[in-house]
């Protein structure tokens, strides 16, 4: 919970090294501001994201999980982001069946230069998660 008692969602982000991680660096270099709710973890490609990572984050109480990769056609590893997308959309359906709102799992393509897009996405994601409230698996006690 935030200092003023408002619900502050906890987000785990897994970002590809080449696009979204670099995009997040770009947001920093440009001193763009976004809500401090997300913790980024770097992998080389969005296709490294094992669905077990996503489920683990939710199990541990993450209110949102964010996966960032390169735009279609831009993947540093040619096709990784397509694989990631097929998998993650299945996982999204899975978590829906498991009672976790699918909007809590967000997949975005953000290029190395799109610091502004990263910021927009984070603003929007935090806003949406605040609307949803804590995850049913949230460990934070009110």
């Amino acid at each position: 919970m935030g200092g003023n008692g408002e619900f502050e969602p906890r987000i785990v982000g897994i970002l590809c090294n080449w696009c979204t991680y670099a995009g997040a660096d770009m947001a920093g270099t440009s001193r763009m501001q976004y809500p401090p709710n997300v913790r980024f973890i770097r992998v080389m490609c969005s296709s490294r994201v094992d669905p077990q990572f996503i489920l683990k984050a939710f199990e541990l109480g993450a209110d949102g999980v964010f996966i960032g990769g390169c735009h279609h056609g831009d993947c540093h590893y040619v096709t990784g982001n397509y694989r990631a997308e097929e998998r993650i959309k299945l996982v999204r359906k899975l978590i829906e069946q498991l009672g976790i709102e699918p909007e809590r799992l967000r997949l975005e393509w953000i290029s190395a230069s799109e610091g502004n897009v990263l910021v927009e996405v984070m603003n929007d994601f935090v806003k949406k998660l605040k609307e949803l409230g804590p995850s049913p698996l949230s460990k934070d006690k009110e």
């Binding site: 935030g2 200092g3 906890r10 785990v12 897994i14 090294n17 080449w18 696009c19 991680y21 670099a22 997040a24 660096d25 947001a27 920093g28 270099t29 001193r31 763009m32 501001q33 976004y34 401090p36 913790r39 980024f40 973890i41 770097r42 992998v43 080389m44 490609c45 296709s47 490294r48 994201v49 094992d50 669905p51 077990q52 990572f53 683990k56 984050a57 541990l60 109480g61 993450a62 390169c70 056609g73 831009d74 993947c75 540093h76 590893y77 040619v78 096709t79 990784g80 694989r83 998998r87 290029s111 190395a112 230069s113 799109e114 502004n116 910021v119 460990k139």
Partner: protein, 650 residues
Amino acid sequence: MGEKEVRIGVYVCHCGTNIAGVVSPQELASYAATLPNVVVAKDYRFMCSDPGQEMIKQDIKEHNLNRIVVAACSPRLHEPTFRRVCAEAGLNQFLYEQANIREHDTWVHMRQPKEALEKAKDLIRIAVAKAARLEPLEVQKVKVTPVCLIVGGGIAGISAALDVANAGFKVHLLEKSPTIGGRMAQLDKTFPTMDCSACILTPKMVDVARHPNIEIHSYSEIKEVEGYVGNFKVKIVEHPRYVLADKCTGCGKCAEVCPVFVPNEFELGMGSRKAIYVPFPQAVPNVYTIDREKCIECKLCVKVCEPEAIDFNQQEREIELEVGTVIIATGYDVYTPFDAPQYGYGILPNVITSLELERLLSSFGPTGGKVIVPTTHEKPKRIAFIQCVGSRDQRLFPYCSRVCCTYSVKHARQIKEKYPDTEIFIFYMDMRTFGKGYDEFYEIAGREYGVNFVRGRVAEVRRVPGTDKLMVRAEDTLLGQLMELEVDMVVLASAVIPREETEQIQHLFRLSRSADGFLLEAHPKLRPVDTLTDGVFVAGMAQGPKDIPDAVAQGKGAAAAAIALMGMGEVEIEPYFSIVNEELCSGCKVCQDICPYGAIGMTVDGKSNINSVLCKGCGACAAACPSGAIDTQHFKFNQVMAQIEAAMKR
């Protein structure tokens, strides 16, 4: 390693006030000291400085550290620095992890110091969790083929080609059009020295053609790219010219007899060429090309061609090149300002673009260097230049095209030199004539040439009814007055934009583009000619708007980078490859098609096997492997899981 006790040192960088101005590095260090396996935790003003690096080295020895975490900037910036520090202290460089508390924290949460502090702690905890599970790795070395492919034969590509070739490496210079030379060949004079563009360019073109280390592939395009740094395989397609390059002497008799006239692209359609043509007289290679779309196949050319160079049956040719390095110098396009209808381009014939004016000014251009009003063919008495057409326009191209201000000044001066009576008005937003000698060049234009500079955006250009003249309506923002100006001609300083093929090039070489659509460099300041793909460099306008000296400098810079890589003869690649645990592999083949590099094969026992040199470490196979038999070094399953657990701990 597993046996040995994990001893982690954590170093929190102040980065001056970049980090310390938002969060307390001391507090972070004392927090880090409480984390499992952390033996030492310290903070320092600049960890990347010599004393900072020395501190780490000392501690490694003194405290017997076997893992290092630095909480500072992005690992994309200083990971190599600290890895080297570890290596120098005798620690395997891959036992290093960096927490990005600057780009991902203090810079993006400057106004929320309390939350930023919490986040920094979390990021350090995540890094420590990973560090504890890091394993020592050995870098892999691969040979670098001492051959460079340069894509684009403009001035950036030419400059790069000559430097690389002079360093003793083979160069393949690829050009899409029938001749090298690029945009610079279309220019008349160059600012601020007023050198004749052709005079300084064509000798370079000839040097390229004659250089024993350079092979020109004109009229060619890239079809496929495979491989990786040091070992690219590039498939190119050479379009048929229907004229045999080794026989054509460039005598031009064929063009003389050719009955078909075609608007000349080189002259931006203002002049004409034949169906068999060279784009301009100094073309390199000086080989004619038949435009088969326009050719009527009268074969008059065949009759007059003494060397029997014409071959209507010539076919497209595929060539496979093996190269170690690549320089992308594909140049730019000029925006055709149809989306700015207020200026009337395409509707009002007397509204032209600057590049069209450039051709009119050229002594070998369509008018032989005479500037004429297109409809009247008379000398213009009054000309308006409109700056920033498309550029710095949020609806079109938000960036500055960088060259327009100075070239418009150049145009004004050139016209004034030819026709001192012609009145010139330049409508500008603000004059950006930076560069060595440029501002002086601009000053003189106003002071000595009497060019009128009007600060203000032109609202509208319309025809003066019943005449060929144009009415320019603008606001002079300095005087705060609306002005209407009747002119003979309007010249639009149209934006510099990325070439249409940039997207294709981007995908072929797995590059990134910045928001403006130009190719993205690896770092805006420190790695301006590198791209995110190792071994691929970028030069010239392909990377963003720039003038000739900058394009040449970047071409030479890219050449130096390529030379450095090829000069080493081998390159280290990060050992982030994936490994199959054959005990667990059932040969389900799920991984086989996933690998974009064909790095995964099968052993004779039907188990997956990964070629560590071909593998680029994306980890797609590890994530996919349904038996958990594949893992990716440095991004191992247990490492990432530990990071996730650490992220959610509090």
